[in-house]
Each structure stands twice: as C-alpha cells, then as structure tokens.
C-alpha cells in the first residue's frame, strides 16, 4: 500500500504531460471523475471511493483488463493497466450484479458484486461482466 501511495503521488505530478495510451473509443463510463449512477467503477487504492483519483469506470462488460488504463478521465494516469491491480469496486449498474473474473475472456469467476454495493476486493481482476 505504501508503495502504491508513493507511486500515486508521483503520477499526479506527471499527469499534466502524460499521453493516453488507451483507445479513444474505450468504455470509460461518463468520463467524469466521480463514480456515477449506472457505472461499474474500479479503484486502485481503495478508500471507499471518497476520492476520485485512480479510478476506471465502465458502462458495460470488458473481456480484457490488460488493455484498460487507470485513466477514467481521458489522458490522465495512463501508466498502469487495471489488470490484477484494483483494490476496490463499486457496482452502480442500475440493473445487474457484476462478476469479476480472475482471468481474461470471462474465465474463472472470482467475485460477484450486487447492485448498489462497494467494497474492497483482492486484486485479481482480468475481466468483468454484467448479469453474467
């Protein structure tokens, strides 16, 4: 955790000049800093989503977290992918539970989050699916 916080602090300074590596069309939910209703939100350092840094939001499924960056707001924090690196999840999907998989392509279901629920998770996330 200490290492993550140091890296996070360093990245904040670098963010202004960072260039996003993720595809422009990638699902980032509403691309706003806050985790809003309807979104599936992952957080790098879990703090009950009390801060908006180092999050990644989705509207839909994603079969490979290995090409999704901690860049919910476009062009911010593109250094690390979220694969096996999320410590928090908030499911604000208005209809579905969300299943997080240990492997890409929806293989090996690991944890299933009901609607309207947030909590810490073990960083074993390679893909996720709604109403699986």
């Amino acid at each position: 955790m200490r290492v993550r916080q140091i890296i996070a602090a360093a990245m904040t300074g670098a963010a202004a000049v960072a260039i996003a590596a993720a595809p422009a069309q990638a699902d980032r939910g509403d691309s706003k800093a806050a985790c809003n209703k309807g979104e599936i939100c992952f957080q790098w350092i879990y703090d009950n989503f009390s801060t908006s840094s180092y999050q990644r939001h989705f509207w839909y499924n994603d079969s490979n977290h290995g090409n999704d960056y901690w860049s919910n707001i476009p062009d911010l924090y593109p250094a690390f992918v979220i694969k096996d690196d999320a410590e928090g999840l908030w499911n604000r999907d208005t209809t579905c539970a969300v299943t997080v998989y240990d492997l890409a392509n929806y293989a090996t279901p690991y944890t299933t989050f009901p609607r309207d629920f947030r909590a810490a998770i073990s960083p074993r996330n390679n893909s996720h699916k709604r109403c699986a």
């Binding site: 509403d30 209703k37 208005t94 890409a104 293989a107 690991y110 074993r124 699986a132």
Partner: protein
C-alpha cells in the same frame, strides 16, 4: 448439512433463491421508478430471475470441454446469456427517485431482506474466490506437468511453462480463446444530455463458435485430460475443496439459509411469481 457430504457440496448455496430475491426487489423498485416518471428500468429488465452464482454449480464442464464434439464447437468459450441494456442517468431527479425506490423495495420484501441479501453475496464470494486456486494447488505441479507433457506431444506449448504450472490457463497457448461474441458494446456513447436517462444497447444471447486453432487446442486439451486422469482427479479434488469451504462457513450457512429461504418465499408472493 447433508449437501456437504454429497458430491455437490455447494448445492447448499441457495443461488436460485438469491436470484428470486434480487428479481423481486428489482421489479418492485422498477415499478416505483415508473410511477415516478422513469419507466426505463422496468421496460428493459429481464423476464425472469437469474441465479447470479451459477458458477458455484461445479460440474465437469467447469474445467473445460467434456467431449470432442463440444471441444470442436466451443473450444474454451461458452455460449452467453442475454443481458439487459445499461440504463444510465444524467438526471439528479432520477437519482433521487432511484435511491428512494431502492429503499422502499427492500422494505417491501422485509426489514432484514437487504442485509441478508448482501450477506449472502459475501458468503458466495467466500466460496468462489479461493475455489479455483485451491483446486489447482491441491492437484500439485506433477499433475499439471503431465498435462503439459501430453499437450507438448500433440504440438501445443504455452508461452510460459512456469506460468502454466501456477495457473493452467489455456489462454497461455497464444490462441485467442473465449472472446465474447457480444464484444463491441463498449463503443456505445450516450449523449449525456443533462436531465435525461439513457438506455444503451441490449446484450443479445450468443452462441460461441471456436475458430480452428482454438478447436484443435481444445480437442487436445480434452484428450490429454482424459489420458492423464486429470479430468477425474480435478472433479474429486473440487468436491474435497467444496466440502472444506462448506465446513469453514458452516455457521454462515446455518444462520443465512433459513432467512434466504423465507425471504425468497416472501419475494415470490410479493410479485406473484410461481
């Protein structure tokens, strides 16, 4: 706890009942939202309950294809169920109605329904999280080396043997496996007009069709599992691990199962389900 001594110890987990509770809460909430002027969720919800923990029903299929025919058709993939569209809000009035209707729907089920529901998800996750890793570790490196050797004889090599021995994942063979046919929905972008609620595209049910390379690997994988006896060993090990987990969380099952059964019955009565 008779299920714990059976060959399906996780049958003690009431996934269908938790699906029933989920569905009833959703239906009551969505009717409330519709009354408040927001029919979107009610219009798109699934037509029947769905067990959110179907992955806790452990069978031979859990560990890969179970016949040559199945291996040829779906490889390591799976057919997908349909899913409702995403309903997303840019309207603070919807957000307030959503929160109010959510609370009211839980109370309509029973005073303890919400806590029992979330508590049961927690129990389900305590079962699913260690399951695969524990089975793989318990089977031991020698078992996975046998599988690796057999696959190698058939011309299939992973990009990292070390990684394969830790997690015997067919994805390590460089074959594009299990890609969901519903991919592409992540390109959807709502207009995000303030004061509106938008409905995304629905996710259709899809039949997975493996490509020829994936099919060839899956057939070899199936044959090697049979030849090395790993198929039977993995199922036996899975039963042992399930029993251990059921024993570990016996007090949670004892506390929660009667409550889930009761609330599921109330849920069915509330929405008129069979």
């Amino acid at each position: 706890m008779s299920a714990a001594s059976s060959d399906h110890p996780f049958s003690l987990f009431l996934g269908e009942e938790i699906g029933q509770i989920d569905y009833a809460q959703l239906k009551v909430r969505n009717k409330c939202l519709a009354k408040a002027g927001y029919p979107q969720n009610l219009n798109v919800m699934l037509g029947q309950p769905r067990n959110p923990f179907r992955h806790l029903i452990i069978t031979a299929r859990t560990f890969g294809p179970t016949s040559v025919e199945e291996a040829k058709r779906v490889g390591f993939g799976r057919d997908s169920l349909s899913a409702p569209p995403s309903v997303v809000s840019f309207d603070p009035n919807y957000d307030r109605a959503y929160d109010s209707c959510t609370d009211d729907a839980w109370k309509a089920l029973s005073d303890d329904a919400k806590n029992v529901y979330y508590g049961y998800f927690d129990l389900g996750n305590k079962l699913s999280q260690p399951l695969s890793r524990t089975i793989n570790e318990r089977m031991g490196v020698s078992a996975w080396q046998k599988l690796l050797s057999c696959l190698d004889d058939k011309g299939h090599r992973p990009r990292s043997e070390q990684e394969f021995l830790q997690t015997p994942n067919p994805g390590l063979f460089g074959v594009p496996v299990g890609v969901d046919a519903a991919e592409g929905l992540d390109r959807w972008q709502p207009k995000q007009v303030p004061g509106t609620v938008e409905v995304g595209p629905a996710v259709p049910a899809t039949q997975y069709q493996a490509g020829p390379v994936e099919s060839a690997l899956a057939v070899a994988w199936f044959e090697c599992r049979q030849q090395t006896g790993i198929d039977k060993l993995q199922l036996q090990t899975a039963v042992e691990v399930q029993r251990e987990l059921v024993d570990k969380y016996e007090s949670s099952f004892m506390e929660l199962n009667p409550q889930v059964t009761r609330i599921a019955k109330q849920a069915a009565e509330l929405i008129g389900a069979p």
